[in-house]
């Protein structure tokens, strides 16, 4: 069994707190993605699970046993590094079999396991090469192969795809998804790319500033972010945030308004008092038409990105606020042209003004 339980896990570097208390349960066979902007502590958390960083406080249980003081080799884990960390002086086969040779696995068995992993990853023809003779994608496969050969109960991935170009990244993403399906092992995957998180994860853990912001299924996070940070981080293009004023509250609904917006009644969410708040609207929730049950947004087109299947409209509201809208199909508009978009009150979320994240890292 390889379920993980983190209880009050903290990490301090000489008084500087990096992980500020994480509680998390990961079930056996689950694919969990840690996501967040750089410096959020996601890699540190992963390295703590791997045993590469000491746990300052709290408990880590792996398979029901306390693992805080176990050395990495005794945790039953394998890790794939961003840099691949292949041993340059060893061949691909030796790289993959390195852990087995350290554990004195009989040669025949080791060879067989390496061959099997190589077959899974389609790198059998590369077994005799040195890492320097491989392309980036091939190196990545070898790094994953090295992890597979160990037959660990938990796989750890530390931004494994960030050194690959876009096309390869998509291939490898599918590859990893397939592996998870085939191997059924627990996988913890760190990335700053919300697309990877959305596509791979059973559950996503959004981290910021060493604190878990939200844990949940990708679609739940997309639909129902618990705060403006998660709202801004999940989804592409980024969520629009409009500063609004809550005029009144009643029956879980808030009456909000702003220059060029509303007044309109939306779900109050965490808002309990009238005053300033943030209205968040997904770009996909904006439509270039008006209907009685939709609330209008007036502005003019600043920039137009016509992709054929969809059109990204960058418009400026009369209040001076920039807003992005993504409209399916091709839309013929001219920059400077006045236009009115609208949203359904059910599609927006209201967050306290104190949530307003100072520019969360945009996916790239």
């Amino acid at each position: 069994m390889a379920d993980l339980r983190l209880t009050g896990v903290k990490k301090d570097y000489g008084g500087h707190s990096v992980i500020k208390g994480v509680d998390l349960e990961i079930r056996d066979g689950e694919f969990v993605v840690f996501v967040g902007p750089s410096g959020c502590g996601k890699s540190t958390l992963l390295r703590m699970i791997a045993g590469l960083e000491e746990i300052s406080d709290g408990t880590l249980d792996i398979g029901g046993k306390r693992a805080n003081d176990l050395s990495p080799r005794d945790r039953g884990i394998a890790m794939v590094f961003q840099s691949y960390a292949l041993y340059p002086h060893l061949t691909v086969a030796e790289n993959m079999g390195f852990g087995l040779s350290l554990r004195k696995t009989p040669r025949a068995e080791a060879t067989a396991r390496v061959a099997r992993a190589a077959e899974i990853l389609q790198i059998t023809h590369l077994l005799d090469r040195k890492p320097s003779q491989l392309s980036g994608g091939q190196r990545q496969r070898v790094a994953i192969g090295r992890a597979i050969v160990r037959e660990p109960s938990v796989f750890l991935f530390d931004e494994p795809l960030s050194n690959l170009d876009a096309a390869l990244r998509m291939d490898m993403r599918m590859e990893i998804a397939r592996l998870h399906r085939d191997l059924g092992a627990t996988m913890i995957y760190v990335t700053h790319d919300q697309v990877e998180a959305m596509t791979l994860a059973d559950r996503i853990v959004v981290l910021n500033g060493g604190i878990v912001q939200q844990v949940g299924r990708p679609i739940d996070l997309f639909r129902d972010p618990c705060n403006a940070f998660v709202a801004g981080f999940i989804g592409s293009p980024r969520m629009n945030f409009l500063p609004v004023t809550v005029d009144s509250l009643s029956g879980g609904m808030a009456q909000v308004s702003a220059a060029g917006v509303g007044p309109v009644a939306v779900a109050a969410g965490r808002i309990t008092m009238p005053g300033p708040a943030i209205l968040s609207i997904r770009p996909q929730a904006l439509k270039p038409d008006q209907a009685a049950d939709r609330s209008p947004l007036h502005g003019h087109v600043v920039l137009l990105e016509r992709m054929g299947t969809e059109t990204v409209v960058n418009l400026r509201l009369h209040s001076g606020q920039s807003v992005l809208a993504v409209v399916p199909g091709d839309l013929e508009l001219q920059p400077g042209q006045d236009i009115t978009f609208s949203f359904a009150p059910a599609d927006v979320r209201l967050f306290p003004a104190s949530d307003l994240p100072d520019q969360p890292g945009t996916p790239h």
């Binding site: 791997a50 050395s71 080799r73 890790m79 840099s83 960390a85 350290l102 320097s132």
Partner: protein
Amino acid sequence: MRAESLLVPIGKTLAVAAILVWSLFPIVFIVASSVKPGQDIFAVPPQWVFEPTLQHYATLWAQWGVFFRGLWNSLLITIGATVLAVVASTCAGYAFSRHAARWLDLSVVALIAVRLIPPIVVTLPLFPIVNRLGLADTHLVLIVLYATFFVSLGTVLMRTFIDQIPRDLDEAAAIDGASRLTILWRVIVPLAAPGILAVAVFVIVFAWNEFLFAFIFTGTNAKTAPLVISEMIGSIDGVDWGVLFAASTVQLAPVLAFVILMNRYLVAGLTAGATKG
């Protein structure tokens, strides 16, 4: 333009020739003199054509048996010092590279500072101590001393080399199940081999030729070849130059052979880090 474009290659050729003559002349002179008949060695004008003779080598063998004992001692001491210095430098370099700490940085400075003190300052006070410990005239004392004097430079060098090996490799190996020592032996050492070789060459060339410590701390048992050669030079009953050059040739040969053999790795080692591999 034409003249200039001709001048550059000519200048380059001349410069290379000058460097070659400068560096090869002493070696050629020593080796050639060792097979010249005695009367011709210092003939004026120099004799470029002569009948080679192995007479000086025969004399060396017959009269200076102690020289060959010295060579054997030099060999043992050189091997011992090299192994010791390389092992210590690699371990220390690894520690320095992988564990950042203020006191460690300080001790690096201390290591370098030690090198700035003239060896004789440290050496002479050691003489009574070495005698008291009963280590005078043993191979061990020179092995330890030579190694000690290169551990500082060696450590700094190895640290630089190991710094270039990504830490990810250590961590990958740790996850693969390697202990610290296993990481050092199976990952760091193979990757730092050019650095180890560079350190080894420094120690080998130094230990093989060293005179001062050998003179102070040895007598008969561990007497090294350079000491015997110095006796040949200063003999109060006159220098037999042919024999001296024969001895110098014999003394020179192994180091020369080693450096030539290792040249490829050595250049790679000394320029490592210039480009990323």
